[in-house]
């Protein structure tokens, strides 16, 4: 990593150091709570889930809830964590580009001998590091909750479950870079990409609920998300989404290089 890129990534992470805890602690606490209560609700939950329609169970990734891993996936990793991290990703990227333009920082940085593409790359890489750190904090707190409650959460599958969120969230960081090429208003970028995030989730849900509409799921990155805590990370999907995120970031930086940055 070049010295310039390293300096920009470090500055971006330093600016967003509070968000690591602001996102990691509540998500971790929520996951730890879910894991901790599993032993006490296990039997009643299983009976309840048996009564759910099969389509609904498949749509929300509930299936069997006979293990703490399955329960963690159903309650956190199938919906809350991916949506939260996807939103965090676009917020982080938007703050580094659109937010910097709004505060005047972009003018100052672009007075130095640094290319716009490098600025975009730094924003994307810093977001990747921020997401990894939040997932790590969330995972560690979840593990701690399991340990304290004696829930028996297995470290390996849990780690895979949290790690699998990373490329998915990063895809929305890539989309955020693209959005910054069209608007340098944080609210517009965040709103637009968050809208895509929710739309993709809904599209995937619709495809799962109605088998005749399964084809629409190809329009959603959630199709490639899977259930890593139970089935392990699927390397092809994991790497494919990661590559797609990087391609989007590259496209975004190419477009960003061509736009005007008005004062």
């Amino acid at each position: 990593m070049s010295s310039q890129l390293g300096a920009l990534v470090a500055a971006h992470l330093s600016d967003r150091r509070r968000s690591l805890l602001a996102w990691g602690l509540p998500l971790g606490a929520m996951s730890a709570f879910i894991v901790a209560i599993f032993p006490s609700v296990e039997s009643s939950i299983s009976k309840l889930v048996e009564k759910y329609p099969s389509g609904l169970k498949e749509a929300f990734g509930i299936g069997e809830l006979s293990s703490v891993e399955q329960y963690l996936h159903a309650e956190m990793l199938s919906l809350i964590v991916p949506l939260a991290l996807g939103y965090l990703a676009v917020r982080a990227v938007a703050s580094g580009l659109a937010g910097a333009a709004e505060t005047g920082r972009l003018d100052v940085l672009l007075s130095a001998p640094v290319s716009r593409r490098r600025l975009c790359a730094a924003g994307f890489l810093a977001t990747a590091a921020e997401l990894a750190a939040v997932l790590l904090i969330t995972g560690l707190i979840t593990g701690l909750g399991s340990l304290l409650a004696g829930a028996g959460l297995e470290a390996g599958p849990a780690a895979e479950g949290f790690a699998n969120v990373w490329p998915l969230a990063l895809l929305f960081a890539g989309l955020g870079v693209v959005a910054c090429a069209f608007s340098l208003r944080t609210s517009v970028v965040t709103g637009a990409v968050a809208g895509v995030l929710v739309a993709m989730y809904v599209i995937d849900l619709v495809g799962k609920l109605d088998p005749s509409l399964d084809w629409v799921r190809y329009a959603s990155v959630f199709k490639y998300y899977g259930n890593a805590i139970q089935e392990g990370i699927e390397p092809l999907a994991f790497c494919g989404v990661l590559v797609a995120a990087a391609v989007l970031a590259g496209l975004g930086s190419w477009l960003f290089d061509r736009r005007d940055i008005s004062g």
């Binding site: 010295s3 310039q4 300096a7 920009l8 500055a11 330093s14 600016d15 937010g99 910097a100 505060t103 005047g104 920082r105 003018d107 100052v108 940085l109 672009l110 007075s111 130095a112 001998p113 640094v114 290319s115 061509r258 005007d260 940055i261 008005s262 004062g263």
Partner: protein, 299 residues
Amino acid sequence: MSTPVIDTEGLTKLFGRHRGIEEVTFTVEPGEVFGFLGPNGAGKTTTIRALLDLIHPSAGSARLFGLDSRRDSVAIRARLGNLPGDFGYGRQSSGREALRLLARLRGVEGTGRADTLAARFHADLDRPLGQLSRGNRQKVGLILATFHEPELLILDEPSGGLDPLMQEEFLALVAEERERGCTVFVSSHDLDEVQRVCDRVGMVRDGRLIAVEWMAELLGKARRRVTVRLADGARPEELRSMPGVSDLETGDETVSFKVAGDLDPVIKALAAHHVTDLEAVHPTLEEVFLGYYQGQGPR
């Protein structure tokens, strides 16, 4: 012949239906302090943003240090310092954090003369910028623009928010930068400031560059206001028909008028009378500037 530090040719930027700048052509020579004058919205900042490659010209070109402003933007920016109009960097960061990052981006060891400048301008580099007044933020911006001793300083409304003492310090700094060999391009609508430090000025109106003049010539070409007190209460009406004389007004014992060019014919005409007092006042840049804006020429 040395390469101009700034050389624009027909530089044009249109924002859809809105006018930006049109056909702006000028050069700035090495070591020169060039003032860029115009009211708000005239196109000063748009020109600067095009020079810095923040916005891309619709037509025309700009070269800095002989390099193309678009293609060689990064190489150009390595050699300049820029103070944006209404400087900002985010509320949470301190000036020192910004300084350290810029030093790393510029590949500069340490933060150069930043602390010396901070002491000189009474700037607080360690407080979050969000806690500083506009003037104090501006001081930090000035330090960020100059700490690395650039070859070219681009300053957009630099003294906005500075108190009079700091404005004096700023003008002294610009003079010192020129002594150092730095070229300074300063956009302003503070005409007194421009008059005191600039060698040449360019005036923009409605997005077009309407004049580029040496400061001394500009003021010399402009019409002086002459007031003469005559002991005999004479009315030297012959002055009215003299070339270069205008706006003649007579009082009880005084005659005042404006003169463009050589004063000698006026002095010789007045010699026929008993002159008890004579005052010739050069116009300020403000008067000249208003003349350009109202009548397309020095008045």
